[in-house]
Amino acid sequence: MRLLDLRLEGFGRLVGRTFRFAPGLNLVHGPNEAGKSTLLRATVAMLYSFFEDGTITAAKRAAMMNYQPWDESARYAGELHYALDDGSAYGVRRVFAPRSSTLLVALPDEADVSDQFEKSTRGRLFFADVQLGLSKEMFENVCQIRLSDLATRDLTASGIATTLARLATSATTEAASTDAIELLERVIREDIGTPRSQSRPLPQLQARLAELEEERATAAAAREELAGLMVCLREAEERLRKVERDRQECDYLHVLAEHDRAARRVEAIVEAEEAVAALGGRLDALARWAEYPAQRHDEVLRLSTRLHHLEAERDEGTERIAATRERLARLEEELAEANERIRQLEHARRTPADILPDVQDLADAWRQAEETYRSALVSYERAKGVVDRAGGHLASEAGQLGPAVEMGHVGLAKLEQRWLLAREQLEAAEGRLAEAEADWARAGMTEERYRYLEEVMRATAAGEEVPLPERRGCLGAVGRVGALLMGRPQPVEAPATGLPPEVLTMAQVGPLRAGLERARAEVERARAALTAVRGEATSRLGALLPAKEPGPEALASLAERVDAFLSARADVTHHRALVRSLRDDLDVVRARRDVAAGDLLAVLEEAGYGGDDAGTVLETYLGQIERRRELGREERDRERLSAAAGDLRDEIARWEGREEAMAATRTELGAVLAGAGIAVGHDLDEAVMRYEEGARGHAAWAEAHAAHEATLKNLQALVAMGSREVLDAAVQEAAARLATLRRQHPTWTDLVAEGAPEEYAARSAAAVDEATALREEIGDLRARIDHATETARRLAELDEEIAITRTAAQRLERFRDAATLAQEALADAAAEYQKQFAPTLEPILKQSLARVTCGRYVDAQVDAETLAVSLVAPELGRPVPIEQLSAGTGDLVYLMLRMAIAQVVSGNRERLPLFLDDPMVQCDQDRQTQVLEYLALLSEQTQILLFTKDPFARDWFASTLAGQDGHALHLLG
């Protein structure tokens, strides 16, 4: 976008001014107050007016009114023409006051296009926002480079990055997202607070809330405690009421008891008086017995009773005493017998019993030794018997088996083997012989014929004449041989050999005969061998072999006998050794027995019991011991009998003593009765009865007298406690009180005073004490209740304070949550934006870089993370951080970045004009020249309006750019 021209009818000091803007660098020069800022302001106001959307504040209205034309006759209005990058051009006509209006027309045909844009009051038409893609605020922030920006800009990478970040954030150089995040964090930290910062508002509220809740819990507990006290108070008051009721009742009962007692006393006095009178009369009636000597009544009674007892015992004991005497006689007889037995056993008294334990021990040892000896003897004799018997048998067997034993098992076995072999050989030879004989038999030649043949052969061999045999037999024999040899039964014709047929036959039977002869010889030899073996066996073993046809089996049997004999002989040898051992043991045991017997005899000898035989001596001693025991038993029996006899004698003596006692008692009783004035006749009992009668009379009199005295005393005592008149008055008074109380408490009418007045008085006093204590307790409870009530924190107040605190805390928490969410969202948006921003900034930067740096730099890099800018030096081939660039290049880069940012943030990517408000005020002339040259170059890319009061800039422009198309100098003031 570029400005074309501006016509101001009236805008501040600029009245009736028209400015035609060049597409490149426009230098607006003028001294202070010349209207440079006014021109800038007017330009912005023409595009955006003074009021954005929303409320038109007084400040904004004031800002607008500040720029009213100084010439009051001039209209506060203007017109701005401008062109967009797409080539379209527009004109905006604004009237600012008194009545704002705005008209937007499309150029060059002046078509009203106002309706294409949103409108609002006060002439607001929001076309710039749409066409430029920027809000007014953004336009001002992005497109205006203020006085201090360039001079004081931080050319470091971080400085530029910071500027970029700020501009990227909100198109201002004021706030970067990091600043905003920091601000929020500070607010959270300081205005809200974190759990670690207990002095901050939210933790304080939370702590306070916790305190309040604890206080409420305490107050609730106190309330419960208070309720408990109330319950106790109610109970105490109830008890007090009950105690009071009881006390009143006690008082009533006390009065009642007093009344009853007084009434009873009156009755008692009356009764006592009557009794005294009655008893006085009786006393008079019994006066005659007053002086009766009844004081000896007990004695008379005692003596009489004793006399009767004695008489009864006497009557009772007569028969018993006779039996007792008989028992006594028997006992005395038994006693005599016991004495006799004791006398007979007297001799055993001296038997020393103290040695008995030792004797018993020694006897036991001796018996045990004896037993052991006998057992050993039996074992020895048994074993010896066995050995003797076995030895005898063995000798007999040895006599019989001598030769066999001499041969030994091995010799017998060898002989048997030879015998068996010889027999087997014989059997084999006989078998072969049988075969040979069978062959010969099959040959059918007789012995005679064979002899003949032998003769023939001999003769033939000798050349002698051959004798002629019986042909038939011979031929037959020949035929059979032939048949035998040829395997045919037909006789074989003798071949024409020239030899006699017998020779041929001999050739045929010769082997057979030879075989037979050999077999026979072998048999003979086998028989001879067998006979030899047999003969040897017989000669060596003789009768040990069966007489009839002994065979080698007999040797086996004989060998078994020999084995048995040898085994038996070994057993006998072993048993003989055993017997020897038993004999040795027997000797030892015998010796022990003898020692035990010796010890026993020694002890008994010392006790006076001698002898050679321990058993006998022991038996004697033990017999004496037994007698001594018996002596003891007899003596104990004697003592028992003596004691029993003594008891019986005592009994008899007592019985005999009763008679005497009876007589003495009679005498005594008679004396007592006589002393009492009773004439004692023959009948003592009758005298006693008379005395009794008198005693009873006296007793009656005494009783009456005593009763009279007691009654009289009672009466006196009663009267002493209160005269009858006094008591009557007390009764009446109590009755009156009772009547009054019954009217007040009708239910008491049925009460009965069962106790004494003092008891009710005591109970009443106790009730008073208890009531006093209860009142104290009640007072204490009430005081505690009052104190608790006064000091109790009202739960409702606590609830209200809790609610307020909780609401405040929740508000802070909500704010904290919102601030935290804002922080996070800002950080996310910033991060994402930077990632997008840097890549879009780079190409824009590159676009102009080569041109404005005259090819010095052609490439630039913007770090997506840090927004750090670096230029690529061709000669180095690597990025150069911006800090390492010259100041001029740095200025240039900064301005280019501002230009690029403006383009980036523009929604339509319009290349927006830059407004530089005296940016070189702190630059020296060389630098100013550099900047101006750069601006001139930059202005080839975008329109620049440079506002300055510096004449150097004006002069430079006049000398350098004046007359060049594309640049313009505007002078103000």
């Binding site: 954005e52 893609g133 809000s135 953004m138 501009l167 990227a168 954030t169 909100s170 198109a171 004021e174 706030a175 997202s177 600043d179 905003a180 995040i181 601000l183 929020l184 607010v187 809200i192 508002p201 309330r223 419960e224 208070l226 309720a227 109330m230 319950v231 109610r234 008051e237 209740i785 009530t789 109790a792 009202r794 739960l795 409702a796 107040e797 606590l798 609830d799 209200e800 809790i802 609610a803 307020i804 609401t807 508000r811 909500r814 704010f815 919102a818 601030a819 935290t820 969410l821 804002a822 922080q823 969202a825 800002l826 996310d828 948006a829 994402e832 934006y833 943030v905 523009s906 929604g907």
Partner: protein, 383 residues
């Protein structure tokens, strides 16, 4: 026979006013005034020489009442003796004391002889005058007591009941506890003396046969509608009952909206608020609770705490700020800046957010934008 009953309910002595955000000092005054209101009602009973005073529950708040509350009530009821006082406990003053039976003021207090406290369970009756009996029962979580199936001929019967915490039914609909006007009449009751609704009124609205007394004072801002005060119920000779409210509630809740636009400082804002309060005659009313909604707050913001402190008014004030969102999100969303991206992201959030989340998100966005503007943000500014 004729008779007169003074009917009261939902007094809520000792109740906290925490839901209304009132501070303890105001709450204490309110609680004291509740006692005074009850005393006035009882004084009216003496003056009118009623046959009985009935209280349909929630006489006190069982969570907070102390035994001293019972002493106060006993003294107040004793002052109207021998007029019988019949109480049917409700939910807030449950007979069993709630979690702790020890805390039932009814149980802890020694009541004067003229006081009858109806137990839970089946209906029990108190004859308050010849031929006039009050039937009722304490509120029970198990449900209302059964009404007798038919009307006995034993004079006039009035039913005294607390109908529960949400007994805000209109019209002739059955009460939440199931009672209907027809069942009432069928059981022979001439009238129902009810409690459980703080805004009093006849029940049902058409052909009333009972009434909710309503609380003696409005206890929350939303209770200003409806009647508040004791009810004089007169029983005519024909058995017809008429109810007349004695509305003398002293407290009121007021809601105001004040535009502070153009106020340059806290003083100006305070004066403007005072003017609004004066207009509603709230400023000098110490028994008013004014909820002020502030609009048009300047961009630079005012310290509302300071504004509130400078308002000279006897009423208790609560203030909240209502302001439009301070940024043109449509415009900002167009920016090709971080700010623009931020706004677009927030606006792109799914619409399914719960209202609370949406509110939080908008607050967060506002904070983020303010922080980007370098503006100081204070928690008190956030409504």
């Amino acid at each position: 026979m004729t008779g007169t009953i003074l009917h009261v309910a939902d007094v809520h002595l000792e109740a906290p006013f925490s839901s209304g955000g009132l501070p303890p000092v105001v709450g204490t005054r309110r609680r004291q005034d509740l006692r005074e209101a009850l005393k006035r009602a009882l004084a009216l009973a003496r003056k009118e020489r009623v046959d009985a005073v009935t209280i349909a529950g929630d006489l006190y708040d069982g969570r907070c009442a102390l035994p001293e509350t019972g002493a106060f009530l006993a003294g107040a009821f004793a002052a109207v003796a021998p007029i019988p006082v019949v109480i049917a406990p409700g939910c807030a003053d449950a007979m069993d004391g709630g979690a702790s039976p020890l805390l039932s003021v009814y149980a802890l207090t020694r009541w004067p002889d003229n006081v009858t406290i109806l137990p839970p369970g089946p209906l029990s009756s108190v004859e308050v005058a010849p031929g006039l009996s009050i039937w009722g029962a304490a509120w029970s979580a198990g449900g209302p007591p059964e009404l007798p199936p038919e009307a006995p001929d034993d004079g006039r019967r009035l039913l005294l009941l607390h109908v529960g915490p949400d007994g805000a039914h209109e019209g002739g609909a059955p009460l939440p506890n199931g009672l209907t006007a027809d069942a009432l009449r069928a059981a022979g009751f001439s009238y129902a003396l009810l409690g459980g609704r703080h805004a009093g009124g006849a029940w049902p609205q058409e052909e009333p046969c009972g009434c909710f007394a309503g609380s003696l004072e409005p206890l929350a801002p939303d209770e200003m509608a409806g009647r508040h005060g004791a009810v004089l119920v007169r029983i005519g000779a024909d058995g017809a009952c008429t109810a007349k409210w004695q509305e003398d509630a002293r407290w009121r809740y007021v809601a105001l909206s004040v535009d502070l636009g153009g106020c340059e400082n806290e003083d100006a804002a305070a004066r403007r608020i005072e003017a609004a309060l004066k207009h509603d005659r709230v400023r000098t009313d110490a028994r008013a609770v004014a909820a002020i909604t502030v609009t048009g707050l300047p961009e630079e913001g005012l310290d509302l705490t300071e504004v509130e402190a400078r308002v000279d008014a006897r009423a208790y004030l609560t203030m909240r700020v209502e302001r439009p969102f301070p940024y043109d999100l449509d415009q900002l969303a167009q920016e090709r800046t971080v700010r623009g991206l931020l706004v677009r992201r927030f606006r792109a959030a799914p619409d399914a957010d719960a209202p609370l989340d949406h509110d939080l998100r908008m607050k967060a966005l506002s904070l983020a934008l303010q922080a980007l503007d370098g503006k100081g943000v204070r928690p008190s500014e956030v409504a």
